[in-house]
């Protein structure tokens, strides 16, 4: 098993009456709720936590891209990854990822990801999401019905730019570039591992399998609800005649560890409820613009969307519900290990994106939960897939002789590097 410590970077100062007073945490959230001076401290706290996770032995540290969003302070995840690249040297940098349909031209992503891979010594895990409709369509103005087409073209351009050793012309429908010549190029060959975060679009399964990319199901609603979708994916894997390596799939899960189950509730309940009640309060039409989902996907799950089940779930949530329905895996190390085993086996996943910081959780609680997990849970879940132990196809392949800047006091004077007069 590989464990990645993920921080969504929520804004922790949404007011108590946020839900009543505002229709959405995303797209048209009043930007007066953001205070850049507090933001300074928030960024540093979150970045410190990501670095802390590396010291505890997490395999990866992760970030993602959202725009105009109260629970995601990373419009540019590459900036976050860049700071981490200079302060860490062991963990994979999982950027899950860049919404490539929104970049103009997308060669920018090929360049920035290459920079990250080079600075980090080959530790980049590169995510290519289609992007949520909130981000890609409503914030970044891409036409919903053409988003997937544009996404595929951007993907083709980036992969060709990384693969090609010579300048080439790219005559796309959305991008025309006479001289494509990626400079620098990534360390990892033929390219960094590619992760495709999927919501519930069934086309994504085949796309991942066409290229043998990792399929990452990022949901906040736990493994019980995620199961039907991942079952669909694995069915497709078998149908396509691919091997069933669990490393083909990743899943995101909110996790809270304390000494006892009761202690977990006492420590973490309010922060998880902050996350579900305020951070996921999205105006429903922003999540479903016509054309974003294909007709095939709509017909596959139309009723689920119709009933706005998700919005309903979010009304009057209690801690008991969060835990019973496994939106949150919380409790003593034993409880968490047992439920995660169920999650990992049930979904057949080799990568877990662990969400330890939730909502407005203070730093000390985040670290307490993370540390307990790293010491008492993670070691016991390591060998869940002994038969796939050596399968590194979906993980980073860094340079052995990479620089470890965090051990070098990077800003200090260098002995022997003075001007030889």
């Amino acid at each position: 098993m590989k464990f990645t410590w993920f921080n969504l970077m929520p804004w922790p100062y949404l007011p108590d009456d946020f839900r009543a007073k505002h229709r959405s945490v995303w797209v048209d959230i009043p930007n007066t709720l953001y205070d850049p001076r507090k933001g300074h401290h928030v960024y540093h706290e979150y970045l410190d936590q990501l670095e802390y996770a590396e010291t505890l032995g997490f395999d990866g540290i992760g970030c993602n891209e959202h725009h105009q969003n109260g629970y995601g302070l990373m419009p540019s995840p590459n900036l976050i990854a860049a700071t981490l690249a200079r302060r860490t040297s062991r963990a994979a940098l999982c950027v899950i990822g860049n919404s490539i349909a929104s970049y103009n031209p997308p060669i920018r992503v090929a360049e920035e990801f290459a920079m990250l891979d080079v600075i980090s010594g080959g530790r980049l895990v590169a995510g290519f999401p289609v992007g949520t409709p909130m981000d890609t369509n409503f914030c970044y103005g891409q036409i919903p019905a053409l988003t997937r087409d544009k996404y595929r073209e951007a993907h083709d351009l980036i992969m060709k730019a990384w693969a090609s050793d010579e300048p080439f012309a790219f005559d796309g429908k959305y991008n025309q570039l006479r001289w494509v010549n990626c400079w620098p190029k990534p360390i990892q060959k033929p390219h960094p591992p590619i992760y495709i975060p999927g919501g519930g679009s069934i086309e994504t399964w085949d796309f991942c399998l066409d290229y043998d990319y990792n399929y990452s199901y990022l949901s906040f609603f736990g493994y019980l609800r995620g199961k039907s979708l991942l079952d669909g994916y694995w069915e497709r894997v078998v149908k396509r005649g691919k091997d069933e390596s669990p490393y083909r799939a990743a899943f995101a899960q909110i996790i809270c560890v304390a000494d006892t189950d009761a202690e977990a509730e006492r420590l973490y309940a309010e922060h998880c409820l902050y996350f579900f009640n305020r951070c996921l309060h999205v105006f429903p039409p922003f999540a479903d613009p016509a054309g974003y989902r294909t007709m095939a996907t709509i017909k596959y799950g139309a009723l689920a969307q119709l009933t706005l089940a998700r919005q309903k779930i979010l009304e009057n949530l209690t801690w008991k519900q969060l835990v019973d329905e496994r939106f949150v895996i919380a409790g003593s190390p034993d409880t968490v290990r047992q439920q995660l085993e169920e999650c990992i086996k049930g979904l057949h996943i080799g990568h877990l994106f662990c969400l330890f910081h939730n909502g407005d959780m203070p730093d000390w609680k985040t670290r307490h939960s993370t540390k307990l997990f790293a010491e008492k849970v993670m070691p016991r879940l390591r060998d869940m897939w002994p038969e796939w132990k050596h399968d590194e196809r979906w993980w980073m392949h860094p340079m052995d002789d990479r620089i470890r800047p965090e051990e070098r006091q990077p800003g200090a004077a260098k002995v022997g590097a003075e001007w030889p007069r």
Partner: protein
């Protein structure tokens, strides 16, 4: 009136509601499509030979993947005119249909008789931002589109019982398909720089507006008047954006008076 199907040279297959006799009038519907009942078309068909095609992606019309941008939509309009075998028809376009009809008239100014634009989309004024039709809750749609939202709601659903899950599902799927198509020329801002091309327009033009249009407010009628000075502009009371449906009689009287 009755439905017929035509196939354009490009390969789209469109249903066309046809009826009446006389000078040919082509009516282009808006982003919501033709509704279940379209009484103003029946009334127009008492004086003209009326053709009301569905855009691909609407109802039983297919080939939406062949149309991606404004020029595709505009050429498709002329492809339809050709497929129907019409010479110099009058073009009447409502909302998104008005935007397309105006583009058609700019592209081939001598191929039409007269032009009627009914609360047309296609322009944008910063001081009058048009509500985002792609981000509306179901109950908000009628409020934005109609002078009388309650009556409007009934017109929109065409008598379908939406408490029935199957009917609701079908309505939802149809609506997603229609707006996905409309989004290609209306999202995120319904302005594909038509104003740069309006200088080419030579057809005699009538611009009709509902006085209580809350989607594209009547200030836009003035803007059209500025951009095509010879146009006649009429504002009709007790009508919102869905003017032809809310005030069929007045609508038909104005159009017929102009096309005469």
């Amino acid at each position: 009136m009755k439905w017929q199907e035509v196939e354009t040279k490009k390969g789209t297959r469109c249903r066309v509601l046809e009826g009446g006799s006389g000078a040919p009038v082509v009516f282009f519907h808006g982003a919501g499509g033709l509704l279940h009942d379209n009484p103003f078309l029946d009334q127009l068909a008492q004086r003209y030979h009326v053709f009301a095609p569905e855009w691909p992606g609407y109802g039983e019309s297919a080939g939406e993947e062949l149309l991606e941008d404004m020029l595709d939509f505009t050429l498709h309009g002329w492809d339809l005119v050709e497929a129907l075998g019409l010479e110099q028809p009058h073009l009447v376009g409502h909302s998104m249909g008005g935007m397309i009809a105006a583009e058609m008239a700019c592209l081939a100014p001598h191929d039409l008789a007269k032009l009627v634009l009914v609360s047309p989309a296609g322009l944008w004024m910063d001081e009058h931002p048009i509500p985002d039709i792609f981000a509306l809750l179901p109950y908000q749609i009628a409020e934005v589109l109609f002078h009388d939202p309650q009556r409007g709601q009934a017109l929109l659903t065409g008598g379908a019982d939406l408490s029935d899950m199957e009917a609701l599902k079908e309505f939802y799927i149809g609506s997603q398909r229609r707006l996905a198509m409309a989004g290609k020329i209306l999202f995120p801002i319904p302005n594909r720089r038509l104003s740069k091309r309006l200088y080419r327009l030579t057809a005699e033009s009538l611009v009709l507006w509902g006085a209580s249009d809350r989607l594209i407010v009547p200030a836009y009628a003035e803007r059209w008047k500025t951009l095509i000075p010879p146009a006649r502009v009429e504002v009709i009371n007790d009508a919102g954006h869905m003017l032809p449906y809310e005030q069929s009689d007045k609508f038909v009287r104005s159009v017929a008076g102009f096309l005469r």
